[in-house]
Amino acid sequence: MPGERLDEQVMALRAAKEFQDGMIINLGVGIPTYCSNFVPPEREVLFHSENGVIGFGPIIDDPDVADNRMINAGGQPISKKPGMALMDHAESFCIIRGGHVDITVLGSLQVSEKGDLANYMIPGKQVGNLGGGQDLAFCSKKVIALMIHTTKEGGPKIVKECTEPITAPECVDQIITDIAVIEVTPEGLVLREVAPGWTAEEVQALTEARLIVPPDLQEMTLL
């Protein structure tokens, strides 16, 4: 019987471990947003939001302090921080398209074994939203798909081929879920870490794509 699934905060904590000192990070809406709470104190990273701000501070949760004119791309009010810079959309996407974002963390509906990302069609609807995610997925130095490992119905989201329309082909470098950390390599998906109490076989059972299990498979360390 497998271990527990990690909660969203812990998933975000694991993703934040990837952030190296000095990196420019863009966080998608949803679970990725939480990553900003878990940057190791010894590391200074700058968060970029595609609506035109870089180096902003924590999200504000008090409507009396929040300013509609200082928000991130998820619509959340953000705080100012020394070293912050504001810009228009054209400059913001020069940063993205020009490959100046080190890591993008995006939510995902499906990831294929080649690293195709599908995250723009809204389940159960006929219309999708591309937003800023497509540029980020195509152009960031590293793309992390941070997602629940399976659909609400328990079906696989890490698949051989995406059945949902794709946002960007072969763009995902790393998949971090509530039960595993998977690296996308030219050879296929390599299972790097499993959540505490999980085995490779148990993760594979919830994954349509074949996982390569290396001899040095580790248990996720979260500190």
């Binding site: 609506n51 509609n68 004119r69 928000i71 504001l86 228009d88 809204i122 995610g133």
Partner: protein, 253 residues
Amino acid sequence: MINKIVGSFDEAIADMVDGSTLLVGGFAGAGECPSYLIGAVARKGVKDLTFVGNVGGWGPNLMEVVRERMAVILTIPEDFYDPGMLVGRGQVKKGIVTYPAAPGRFFTPMEWGIMQGEIELELMGQGTLCERIRAGKGGIAAFYTPVGVGTVVAEGKEVREFNGRKYLLEHALRGDFSLIRAHKADRYGNLVYWGTMRTFNPVMAGASTVTVAEVDEVVELGELDPECVVTPGVYVDRVVVRPKEPKPWEEAM
């Protein structure tokens, strides 16, 4: 004498006609949206518009739901009239946007329009949308972006390889009216913004035959620091000041 300040939002768009292409600034929220200009377009009732902007918008009914949901972190002012107002009134025949749909279970006016075949959708990512508009403002006919190759946005577009990587040809986009939001203006039309108010607004300034800026305040010439002017007045044709006290939906119509 140069004086781009006009007296009312209605006056600022008085020459807008049916079938116009509107570039409407803002991202998705109240802080960067030219709400009163949108209200004026609704009042004018022009039809068959091509709407170019980031989002298709909520419209008045969904806005109430959003307002309630967001209330724990952010107060949405009562004078936030978003593009959904125009869509919901049947004024829009085509949307060139990155975000037509609500992220959750709701259906926005643009989604309904698309599903019922009444609105044509041209979907693309934000980087491509803003770069197409900048090209329109800056006299570039078209450009090659890597974004979108192999996806739905590439359909019918030229793909070309440069240095071993594939790129899509994307064309400049210009409008009849750019309706933008800014913080302060002077009579030359120089503009500064506030916080994340910029987003698509400075990009759209100058990308249409007529650019109208909705601002919080007009200041004397010389009060804006020339080092900090974001949009030089050359791109701006008309400036209108927002009312000091917010006017809700109902009063606007």
